[in-house]
């Protein structure tokens, strides 16, 4: 799923003659764990730190499509915090810490490599130091290019929470590490549906605390209620079109017909009864097994 509105930036892929030269990444796919780790790191920052930085770990995939423009995607799987300090005179990154953490991570996820770095604080924080850090990470990921993910926490006034991805390209007559242009590239979110659902539903509660585990029926109920609300909205729209208050949209009408025209006839013809019998059999079997197990464990206690 794309994160944020589509940007108007043009991504020019220069066709490289030599296949060995790695291409510029065209998009970033990021896992929520990486984002949540960044947020946690930001929460635990020291008072004098305006922003936090860290390393992004993941994999690169290159797919060659027919239209000769190859997709060079970066999948960010996780991230870890890196110590750094910056003031008006200098910036320092704890490289030893970064190496140790990477080694530890590769013990569990041997496939993940360093793909880039993150920082918090929105677009306004892309400065000379960012260019220097980008240069450092470029050395770490060589020969591939490092990507930069900028996460805006939305805590500063006038900013909205969001994620943006960048690649760098050198600028100026003589390439210097502190001179570069951050070119935005699209960022997508990849996630386990159910996990994010759980967190969003928890976040919507006023106390932001939800008890576990929820039963499947409760979930079903909330889903059905959601569908019922949507049907009400559609019904209201259709009624207003019929009464002539709103002009009908033919495209929308076609969508509604496709969606609501689905029949449940197949279920009626025998499918329902056989399915029902199977399900009842499962339910009977499960209670039989459970009672047998219970009896067996009780008997183990008395046979002494």
């Amino acid at each position: 799923m794309p994160l944020g509105p589509p940007s108007s930036a043009i991504h020019i892929q220069t066709p490289s003659v030599n296949q060995n030269i790695p291409r510029t990444p065209t998009s970033i796919t990021i896992h929520p764990v990486a984002l949540f780790s960044i947020l946690d790191h930001y929460l635990r920052r020291k008072d004098d730190q305006p922003r936090v930085i860290g390393t992004l770990l993941g994999t690169r995939t290159t797919s060659y499509s027919e239209s000769s423009a190859s997709e060079n995607e970066i999948h960010v799987h996780s991230s870890f915090a890196v110590l750094h300090s910056e003031n008006s005179e200098q910036v320092a990154v704890d490289m030893e810490y970064h190496r140790t953490m990477f080694e530890l991570h590769s013990k569990v996820h041997p496939k993940d490599v360093i793909v880039g770095w993150y920082s918090t604080g929105g677009e306004g924080n892309l400065n000379t130091y960012s260019a220097l850090i980008q240069n450092f990470y470029g050395q770490e990921t060589a020969p591939n290019m490092a990507v930069h993910v900028n996460l805006s926490t939305g805590l500063e006034e006038g900013t909205k929470a969001g994620v943006k991805g960048y690649v760098s390209s050198p600028v100026g007559v003589f390439p210097k590490p502190e001179n570069c242009v951050f070119v935005p590239i699209p960022v997508h979110l990849q996630f386990e549906r159910s996990g994010v659902d759980l967190l969003t539903s928890t976040a919507q509660l006023p106390s932001s605390i939800s008890a576990q585990p929820t039963s499947e029926l409760e979930l079903l109920e909330s889903s059905l209620q959601n569908v019922a609300e949507m049907l009400d909205r559609v019904l209201a729209y259709v009624r207003s079109v019929l009464s002539g208050e709103v002009e009908g949209d033919p495209a929308l009408g076609r969508y509604l017909m496709d969606t609501l025209g689905t029949s449940t006839d197949d279920l009626e013809k025998g499918g329902f009864t056989s399915r029902l019998q199977d399900t009842l059999m499962f339910s009977y079997l499960s209670s039989l097994v459970r009672s047998q197990a219970e009896v067996s464990s009780r008997l183990a206690l008395v046979t002494s």
Binding site: L39, V82, V196, T200, A203, A300
Partner: protein, 412 residues
């Protein structure tokens, strides 16, 4: 989060604070006047609930999904306890090693753990181990390894630690499943003695349902995460005016209806697993039965041997007394002749036999090698797995029954 870091700061300064009582501030009623009631240095407040942070939830989910096999997905939970609530704020996965060199791998895991904790501490993350998590499938999480690890933790960790069990199959159906457990005291008692014989189980009243006790589990999202998720879920309108309806609004988190899916397909797999565990249980029962029969046979042999020995003994004693009398006479003769009495070898020989009467059972056991009584732990764990599998099958069928009738409700 803020409360947690405050708790950490307070816990660090508590020894000094306890000497000088915290001044009572009556104006702020929302904040407890003294934090000494909610922070216990000695771990005296019992745990009543476990609270997982959103970060931990997503980390466990990701690890369980990516792990090569379900049993390998385990890691450590980090956090702090405050007023009976164990707040888990971070976690990290543990590497899985092929069990070819048990000693070496456990050492390298320990090294990995120590250096990871040190690294996390450097970036101000929580570094207190409070338990571990384990992924499972279809609710069957009982395993020897889980119990061993938890038993070690319950010895070493403050509050004994908890194990958070995550069910992958439930999550695939759209209902992420987390439960927190702890070993019961009666089980731990039996475990420490390494005694899972039938009599020990009966005296501890142990069945598979009394191995673990469940602690209520809650999930919390911190305000920053809440804000971020809210922002992600907001749909943005496409800048294109002629976009088709499914592209007109773009949202990073579109609503999902996976729980309405009629095909809850894991029933077959569930049944297969039940059959498999039943087979394992039968084999285990067969083993126990065999060992029990061996014990009975060897015991009978030993009894027969002892009875025979007894008979022999009594015979010998009577003979011995005869000998003794004979010796006595001889001694009397010697004494009458003025010679020193000879050592009563035969009598002492008989005396040894009489003494060995009390320890003859042990001797006979050593002679016949009666095996130890079989441990029932394995079969108990298998029964627990069986019960959990059947339970999840029952739950699946119950919800699919509701869905089945639900689909016909509209058309009927």
């Amino acid at each position: 989060m803020a409360a947690q870091s405050m708790a950490a700061a307070l816990a660090a300064t508590l020894p000094a604070a306890s000497a000088t009582p915290v001044p009572v501030a009556p104006t702020y009623e929302a904040i407890p006047a003294s934090m000494s009631k909610v922070i216990d240095v000695e771990a005296e407040i019992p745990l009543t609930s476990v609270q997982l942070d959103g970060l931990v939830v997503s980390k466990i989910l990701k690890h369980a999904r990516e792990a090569s096999s379900i049993a390998n997905a385990h890691g450590l939970l980090l956090g702090l306890d405050l007023d009976g609530t164990l707040e888990v704020s971070n976690s990290f996965p543990l590497p899985y090693h092929v069990a070819d060199d048990e000693d070496k791998s456990s050492k390298s895991v320990a090294r990995y753990q120590a250096s990871m904790l040190r690294s996390l501490k450097e970036v101000q993350a929580d570094d207190g181990v409070v338990g571990f998590y384990q992924a499972s499938s279809l609710g069957a999480f009982f395993s020897q390894r889980l119990i061993d690890t938890q038993a070690i933790h319950q010895e070493k960790l403050r509050h004994g630690g908890v194990v958070v069990v995550h069910d992958v199959s439930q999550t695939a159906r759209g209902n992420p499943h987390f439960r927190a457990f702890r070993l019961t005291t009666s089980f731990l008692d039996a475990y420490k003695k390494f005694n899972f014989s039938a009599t020990s189980l009966a005296s501890h009243q142990l069945t598979f349902s009394s191995i673990l006790e469940e602690i209520p589990l809650k999930i919390r999202t911190n305000p920053l995460l809440k804000l971020f998720l809210g922002e992600l879920g907001k749909p943005t309108h496409s800048p294109l005016s002629d976009a088709t309806p499914d592209q007109a609004t773009i949202s990073a988190l579109p609503p999902s209806f996976s729980s309405l899916n009629l095909n809850s397909g894991s029933s077959t797999k569930n049944l297969e697993q039940i059959a498999e565990v039943l087979d394992n249980y039968r084999t285990e029962e067969g083993n126990i039965g065999y060992i029990t029969r061996v014990i009975a046979r060897e015991k009978a042999k030993a009894e027969a041997h002892i009875a025979k020995r007894k008979e022999e003994n009594s015979e010998r004693i009577s003979k011995g007394t005869f000998l003794k009398l004979w010796w006595q006479r001889k001694v009397d003769d010697h004494v009458s002749k003025g010679l020193a009495p000879l050592p009563e070898e035969d009598v002492s020989f008989i005396a040894i036999f009489e003494m060995s009467g009390s320890s003859k059972v042990q001797q006979a056991y050593r002679l016949f090698r009666i095996p130890n009584e079989p441990s029932r732990l394995e079969s108990m764990l298998l029964l627990g797995q069986l019960d959990a599998l059947a339970k999840s099958l029952g739950e699946t069928s119950a919800s699919s029954l509701v869905k089945l009738y639900g689909t016909t409700a509209g058309s009927g």
